[in-house]
């Protein structure tokens, strides 16, 4: 790679700061004056933040119940065994009874959690057609190849919505009943099922195909529902703003989880008498048990939780901040000691000279 930049007898090089490598520059050095305060300040700040996070996380109350229905774990095991090996599983309901000794401050959120469910599997994650979900008519009829084997139905009709994610839509449903005093009648607690999806998902990413003659059903004509579904996509909800591709449950489900154990929001409880939270008393959740998870060793949980400024219960962050902060302080002291001893030595050296 021989290469010659200038001809013989060339001009004198330019005398600029750039060519002579004399550009003005800031030359930071990790001196004690910077490093030690950095460590102590960072340590204190982290401990402070950690304490805040820890207490706010501790203040959050969570109630959870595993209703997978493994044998001997409550009345859902009946549904689980009944549904085993049958497709579609029969309609089956079970219930979770619990009581609150005191008010669970609101707003209270109802989540379902699945574990050992690999929404983050690459083949699972790509098995969708965002063009179809964004309401493009052409994509509705011609789902992307990534959707295979849920691209076309057995009869050759395009599946809408196509893909493994849509096909595996979580279809258990919950109702919450409250009994203020023993012996009283259970009243249903209203569950707010709107706005459980991201605004951008609901308004931008997911759109129904253009209506045909004002009918969503006609718009979807010539398509087949995913094989696991009992009803077509346009009948997911009677509410026209919550059906088709913009059904909130569907949108929530389609935002795939990062980890094999994940929780998704089912509903908020913030209406009527329950805006302050769930008052003390007895409750039960009526669960419509449809979704099989036992085949692959998965678990289904139902969770009530309230949240703080930084989201739901999350002890990890607070503890991590506390640990890191303490380590910073500790390291700071070690460095301080080293620095002082080194300084002494240095002075001695100077004296010797």
């Amino acid at each position: 790679m021989t290469w010659s930049v200038s001809a013989r007898g060339a001009h004198q090089p330019d005398n600029t700061a750039f060519t002579q490598q004399r550009l003005p520059a800031w030359q930071p050095l990790l001196s004690a004056g910077i490093t030690l305060p950095l460590f102590f300040c960072a340590g204190l700040a982290f401990i402070g933040l950690g304490l805040g996070l820890f207490y706010s996380s501790n203040g959050i109350k969570e109630l959870e119940y595993d209703y997978t229905g493994n044998p001997g774990t409550g009345n859902c095991s009946l549904c689980a065994t009944e549904g085993q090996g049958r497709s579609p599983p029969p309609n089956c309901s079970c219930a979770w009874h619990f009581s609150l000794p005191e008010l669970l401050p609101g707003p209270v959120y109802l989540y379902y959690e699945l574990s050992n469910f690999y929404q983050n599997n690459r083949r699972y994650g790509v098995s969708r057609d965002d063009a179809q979900l964004s309401g493009l008519a052409s994509a509705l009829r011609h789902p992307a190849n990534e959707c295979a084997p849920y691209q076309l139905s057995a009869t050759g009709l395009p599946i809408a919505p196509c893909g493994a994610i849509a096909n595996s839509l979580f279809n258990d449903s919950f109702t919450l009943w409250y009994q203020r005093r023993p012996g009283e009648r259970y009243v249903e607690v209203p569950l707010d099922r709107t706005a459980i999806a991201w605004w951008t998902d609901y308004h931008v990413k997911f759109r129904n195909p253009p209506l045909v003659n004002g009918s969503l059903k006609l718009a979807f004509s010539g398509t087949a529902p995913p094989p696991n579904w009992h009803r077509p996509v346009y009948e997911l909800s009677p509410d026209p703003n919550n059906t088709g591709f913009i059904n909130q449950d569907f949108v929530v489900w389609m935002r795939t989880a990062a980890l094999p154990t994940f929780r998704k929001l089912y509903a908020r409880i913030r209406q009527g008498n329950y805006s302050a939270g769930l008052p003390r008393g007895a409750y039960f959740v009526n669960i419509t048990y449809n979704y099989p998870v036992r085949a692959f060793g998965g678990h289904k949980l139902i969770i009530f939780s309230n949240i703080s400024w930084m989201g739901g219960k999350n002890p990890f962050l607070g503890i991590a901040y506390l640990v890191v902060g303490s380590l910073c302080i500790l390291m700071g002291f070690v460095m301080l000691v080293v620095y002082i001893r080194y300084q002494d030595q240095d002075d001695d050296d100077n004296d010797d000279e």
Binding site: Q12, L23, P28, N120, N121, D130, A144, N167, F316, V334
Partner: protein, 1017 residues
Amino acid sequence: MKVRQAIPITSELGDISKLAKFDGEVICEPPNNKLDKFSGTLYWKENKFPLSNQNMLLRGCVLRNTEWCFGLVIFAGPDTKLMQNSGRTKFKRTSIDRLMNTLVLWIFGFLVCMGVILAIGNAIWEHEVGTRFQVYLPWDEAVDSAFFSGFLSFWSYIIILNTVVPISLYVSVEVIRLGHSYFINWDKKMFCMKKRTPAEARTTTLNEELGQVEYIFSDKTGTLTQNIMVFNKCSINGHSYGDVFDVLGHKAELGERPAPVDFSFNPLADKKFLFWDPSLLEAVKMGDPHTHEFFRLLSLCHTVMSEEKSEGELYYKAQSPDEGALVTAARNFGFVFRSRTPKTITVHELGTAITYQLLAILDFNNIRKRMSVIVRNPEGKIRLYCKGADTILLDRLHPSTQELLSSTTDHLNEYAGDGLRTLVLAYKDLDEEYYEEWARRRLQASLAQDSREDRLACIYEEVESDMMLLGATAIEDKLQQGVPETIALLTLANIKIWVLTGDKQETAVNIGYSCKMLTDDMTEVFIVTGHTVLEVREELRKAREKMMDSSHTVGNGFTYQGKLSSSKLTSVLEAVAGEYALVINGHSLAHALEADMELEFLETACACKAVICCRVTPLQKAQVVELVKKYKKAVTLAIGDGANDVSMIKTAHIGVGISGQEGIQAVLASDYSFSQFKFLQRLLLVHGRWSYLRMCKFLCYFFYKNFAFTMVHFWFGFFCGFSAQTVYDQYFITLYNIVYTSLPVLAMGVFDQDVPEQRSMEYPKLYEPGQLNLLFNKREFFICIAQGIYTSVLMFFIPYGVFAEATRDDGTQLADYQSFAVTVATSLVIVVSVQIGLDTGYWTAINHFFIWGSLAVYFAILFAMHSNGLFDMFPNQFRFVGNAQNTLAQPTVWLTIVLTTAVCIMPVVAFRFLRLSLKPDLSDTVRYTQLVRKKQKAQHRCMRRVGRTGSRRSGYAFSHQEGFGELIMSGKNMRLSSLALSSFSTRSSSSWIESLRRKKSDSANSPSGGAEKPFKG
């Protein structure tokens, strides 16, 4: 300079028409690389004429003393001796390049290992979980078993983890080197004003190796010296002239000299001659007889030719620059050598022309180390004038000169101490009868058939005895500017300098002293001159034994004979106490370089502080370099200016050509070129050092950032069923290496400086990390990799810990895949940016711009990619719509990013601070002291400026060849009239050429420089 002549028979081809009719035939040896030998025969007009090296002009020669010549081309192109000597052109690569290739291979192996681990993981997962999860995620049609799925997963992982193999590394490295090369070209401090030549990096691939040089192989003439001789001092009759005194009477240093002596009284004076001591001229004007005799000798006893183009315009054509300097000095002091014929010499002595009869020239040769003339002055007195090496001449003086001898010896020591080349001058009056008798015997001897030279030598010896001492001269072989300082500085930087020269031993040693390579502080200078294998081996063995004995490290049981385990020998010899130097002759070197002795030679040489190889051929130069390259695992640099240095320049790791001197072959073969030796210190200590530093920092960071980036996928594999799911968005993967992280590290690689340039000159020890290869080696590489993996672990597991349970502040799901991807990507970009900020030691505006710019560009692109507009156009390509604003609005996400950054960076800061406090590098100390503006500690500035005491005996050196006396006396080389020429028979002239040729081939020819062709025709 060398004499080259056409064979006499061709002299009749003077004009072009005759030349065109020339129809001779040359039969000669096949092409070879021996510069000093040629044998062939010219068949012409049914006669045979022998051709020897004396009749050859080699390719690359420059004609002196004649404007043109006719010639016959014997070999051309690759068959020329020069090209035969040049050796193969090798593709040069730096050690970092080779290391890099190894490391990339290792990384590739690592990649395959990761692929295998994850593939096995995938097979197990599909077997245990995947088969049962088929309810929701059926296998692809083609996949029929977990094993096959694992196999596919292997290839998927090879693809997604391939970013760990830094493909863009090679491009970036080249860009950085290109930048460094431009900085070398642009450097004003390496621009030679006089010749208007800038330094030039002729290759862009070797820059960082400039920071690792351990051995420098230097040519002498034209590289260390200017090949200009200057009459500097003299001692006449016990009085020394030539010291420069300033107004106050102190010895003046350079730069504060008074005006030079005015030679205007002498119309024939050479204007370029400068002398500073007026007392010498006064002595001449006062008519001091000793001084007159001194300069008379200088004007008579030489083999210089004069040419007078017009009246008073004298040109001397000297065969060696030393002689030219002496005769010019005599000329300026009023003893002007005007012209010569074979029998006379005409000298203008202080204005009056005097013609001396030249009776005999007792020519110079290597053994005699002196030359004499015998002249008859106009009064008829016969006198012998002699000049020669002090060691030889001082033994041949008349006992009566004892007193003068001691004072002259003092002066000689003083001159030698200054690194000057000295000659002693003496004369002797001869009786008429004695001379007659002597001349007769000389004639007899010269006609003898056998051992003619020995007989002649005896006869010369006889007459050159009991001489009267006149004085001594001291000639300065002018060094290039700044050579001793440069060598001293490079020595302090622990660079070993070997001088490889075609010159004679005396000259080379002399230059060794004057450029402070050899000093009187040295314990001993070993001189190896053996002619046979055994002699050389013995000499080397003795040298080693001496070094051993003085260091008292080895018992008697240790033998050096035969093949020893070289490592053992090295360890012992490297620790030798005291300073030694080795001088080895070309013919000894030929033996020393043989396969069974080369190790011994190398060990001996490497234990010495300085090594000088003299009378070496170009190929030997290359062999020496090759030897060091082969066994020392050190970076070598060869510097030279002439065609004879080409092979050495090509062989060494780095070849440097001195430009603007003779020829451009050296420059064309070189990797770097500049016009003065002193620029070498800047090239190595500033540019080389910085290049190495920058390249090492760059490589460390580059491997770090790729590992930190890629290994996250590996950890994620364990949580996504080993399905080859990437952690990041595809666009982030594409852009990470080329947009988000490339420019800051490039800016660091191009602009970073740890200490300012003047500091690296002040503290040459700063160069050592490069030689020891401390800044980037396998250990450093593993540290970088470990840091990268550590970062990737935290980069994955901290968000994992947070996201496992967290929900957003509006209660909706946080732990979705896309939010996770954005969080990890953002913290990665921030962490690597902070890391490059920590690594950057020199924040220019460009660094600021690139670092902050990269962060800004990351966020700009992130938001653009996640915007509604792009999604509306390409819904399947931009699936992350709305993600940036949703995710980055979460305090939890930012808390995660801050935590990740702190955990990744704080240990690095702590580690660096502790290292700075506990075990600071010299560069850290320099920076620190600079920061607090303390006075530099004296201990680092141990620049030795030793004023040498003149204990060395002989400063004698004379770049002279024998044969010229005969040449002059035969009158053959003079521009005589055709009449005068015809008076010499063809036969006699061919015989002298014959004898001249024989003598020349006896003494190995030094192949430097150009050719002289005093004989025209």
